[in-house]
């Protein structure tokens, strides 16, 4: 019996980040992924005994609430994600240097580390995001369970990610830069049956 379709991974070089385009089933976009450029990212860890002071300063200087658990908190262009006890990821799409902003606000209260280049950020949208992620993740991402504002640092196809649900149908994911190609290959392969759009513009 003749082949009437070929799998997108069969023709993509394994050590190249898959190019923008539509993969898999045509005329359908079950998952759309968009690489987010220009995010500035930093990790934030309070100095010993400074948690209360930081919570207060963040509230007053940046109008942000530090999430007490693995949650995402949104305030304008800024997002705070709890990644560990006393450890947060701060992201901003406006500040060019969120690490600098935090350092200026918090001074010696916290250890701040710029991580803007450590991660590739992907926005995922569409009706099949949860089904696609379920092919690589080992946590319950059922939209009835993993609600907007929830976050998880976990694995996707053996690759470490930090994932949070922004709104009903949009999710954001951070992956270490060196794994970008491997992670996108997984997404291309896993979302192909639903139609996968990578980096659609406009």
């Amino acid at each position: 019996m003749a082949e009437h379709w070929s799998h997108p991974l069969d023709t993509l070089p394994f050590d190249t980040v898959p190019p923008a385009g539509h993969y898999g089933v045509a005329d359908m976009t079950g998952v759309a992924a968009r690489r987010i450029e220009g995010l500035s990212i930093a990790t934030l860890a309070p100095a010993r005994g400074a948690e209360a002071a930081i919570t207060e300063t963040m509230r007053q200087a940046l109008a942000m609430e530090l999430p007490g658990a693995s949650r995402a908190v949104f305030a304008g262009a800024r997002t705070l994600i709890g990644t560990a006890p006393g450890r947060w990821l701060a992201l901003s799409s406006l500040d060019r240097d969120i690490a600098g902003t935090l350092r200026a606000a918090l001074g010696p209260l916290a250890a701040i580390t710029d991580q803007s280049d450590a991660f590739i950020a992907l926005d995922l949208a569409g009706p099949k995001v949860a089904d696609t992620l379920a092919k690589g993740a080992l946590i319950d991402l059922d939209p009835r369970v993993f609600l907007p504002g929830m976050a998880a640092t976990t694995v996707l196809a053996h690759i470490g990610i930090t994932l949070w649900r922004r709104e009903e149908a949009t999710w954001r994911l951070l992956v270490a830069r060196s794994f970008e190609a491997a992670l996108l290959r997984f997404l291309v392969s896993s979302a192909a049956e639903y139609g996968f759009e990578l980096d659609a513009r406009g």
Partner: protein, 102 residues
Amino acid sequence: MRIPCPYCGERDAHEFSYLGDATPARPDPAAPDAQDRFFDYVYLRDNPAGAHQEWWYHAYGCRQWVQVERNTLTHAVAGARLARDARDAAGDAAGNVPGDAS
């Protein structure tokens, strides 16, 4: 196997790396019999059939060391707590702080 990380929630054991028995405490390096004590600390382990306190590192999650009580016969996990909380609960400040060993 699933492990209830106190911070992240229930996660698959694949996200963790295993160290082993969580009960031995680092001996005092300045003790006169330090070498014997360290030998015990590094090598000697009970191998209980049943409840076992052990260290698991949540490498793909919060990167916390978690003390897990696991039944070695059934793999049933009775509980888990973060290393820091476990130490606090044990009333033991920490592993031994190195003294002047000269």
